[in-house]
């Protein structure tokens, strides 16, 4: 699985929520195929007996009290960043239909 098809790229773009142009689709099809060919060198690496590494700190379950801490940030400060608001809520386009 090294050479991607146009359909593969379209599927990825849909999963990633990227509305790509036809030109981008063809460019990425080639470039991603090349990267996948490069990383294929891992296929034959012997990793028997090894576990995957997900993080390197050695920390497990860093817990804290479930309490409200006031960092001085007001909801209005965050709402101001939203492109569209109404009645103190973020307004989005309709989801269905």
């Amino acid at each position: 699985m090294a050479e991607l098809t146009r359909e593969d790229v379209l599927k990825l773009a849909r999963l990633a929520r990227l509305d790509l142009s036809d030109e981008e689709i063809e460019t990425f099809r080639k470039e991603i195929s090349e990267v996948l060919q490069y990383v294929a060198q891992l296929d034959n690496v012997d990793v028997s007996g090894l576990k995957p590494t997900t993080q390197v700190t050695g920390l497990t379950n860093v817990m804290r009290e479930d309490e409200v801490i006031d960092y001085g940030i007001r909801p209005a400060d965050l709402m101001r960043l939203a492109p569209k608001t109404q009645d103190g809520q973020i307004k989005v386009k309709r989801m269905i239909g």
Binding site: L15, A16, I32, E34, L42, L81, A82, K93
Partner: protein, 472 residues
Amino acid sequence: MSWLPIADIAAKVQAGDLHAVDLVEQALQAIADKASYQAIIATTAGRARERAAAIDARIKNGEKVGRLAGVPFIAKDNFLVFGAETTAASNILKGFNAPYQSTAIERLEAEGAICVAKANLDAFAHGSSTENSDFMTTKNPHDDTRVPGGSSGGSAAAVALDLVPFALGTDTGGSIRLPASFTGTVGYKPTYGLVSRSGVVAMASSTDVIGPLTKTVEDAAVVLDVMAGTDPLDSTTIERDKASYTDLQTDLTGKKIGVITEYMAEGLQDGVRKQIEQAIDTLRAAGADVTEVSLPSLPLALAVYYIICPAEVSSNLSRYDGQRYGFSDENVQNLEESFSKTRAKGFGSEAKRRIMIGTYVLSSGYYYAYYRKAQTVRTKLINEMNEAFQNVDYLLGPTAPMTAFKIGENAHDPLQMYLTDIMTVAVSLVGNPAISIPAGESDGLPVGLQLMAPAHADRALLSVAKATEAIL
């Protein structure tokens, strides 16, 4: 005009011999004078002037103001600075004014340091040259037809140009060390988890670290010492040393340094090889015990990185959806279209490329073949490097196989661009500390020497780096 050592500046400000307001003006003037290098996205002049005046006033009142009093600095534009625009050099975050502040900035400012500007980078820190910035390409201070390296290229150029005594960068696969190497500055990547990432735009969370770019190792140690330590706002932070990271022991006698065979193999520019070999001779002459060490899996590191990094990037960048903050495409019919058009217009081509690769390697059917396999080879790399540190105290090699390349030279070949990271990514995947220090020049362009140490051995690494810097 060059700057005094950071500790000296702060001492003079505290003593009233220098004034914070003048230091801020000096930095802002230098930024204006060197604007053609395009290292800076925006200044934070108003805020900086206010803070400087407040510091000077407190000193006048006889108050103590902290160990970085009045020291101006520049933050890569992926650090949230309260009230300042934070773009990560991306169109999708243009106009985003930080509603809170990163812990790193908070800690530096608590000691009296003053952020005067935000530096250019490859958008979202994706790149090795700053050419992936959605706004502009930073020019190398040693040759303005060449790149400064990346992704922290603006920060490195800022220090090389003497705009400020230090700048902050982030390093995910080499993004502090590579630009340090290309610009003749010192770039420090701490042990993973040593510096809080709260308030810093995330790239690949399993390797992202924060660190300083400076002119000297000593200055890097001062900045690290202020930033290091656990933070309740970042649950991945680790305990710091109780001793100061500025408490350095610089005797090289008997220090065991392993030169990485795989990094001295083919593919190294002649001029780079010459400088590194000379540095090795100098270290031997100074009493260091230098041997050769082979880590046979190291050449696999780049392939591992270019699976794990895009996977984490695709996940971290999914939050930019145009609904809560940042750019939003208004010309859409429904929510789905709002997501996909906002992201298509707001992200540059490298961000899109990485999101697409990441989505592919994480997608059902390929997860085991790519992502899981890469994570398992990562374990092999970690084991190999840990074994090497059973026999030597430090590992040494070039920071990059080449000196700064021409602007545009690699821009149309993503894979070739990725290869510039070939000597920096392995230690990022392992999570150990590493530093790039200047090791002379090749054809007038700086060469970087890279040193690495076991995890948590940051103070030892800074010690040997300072000792090496002194004799090179």
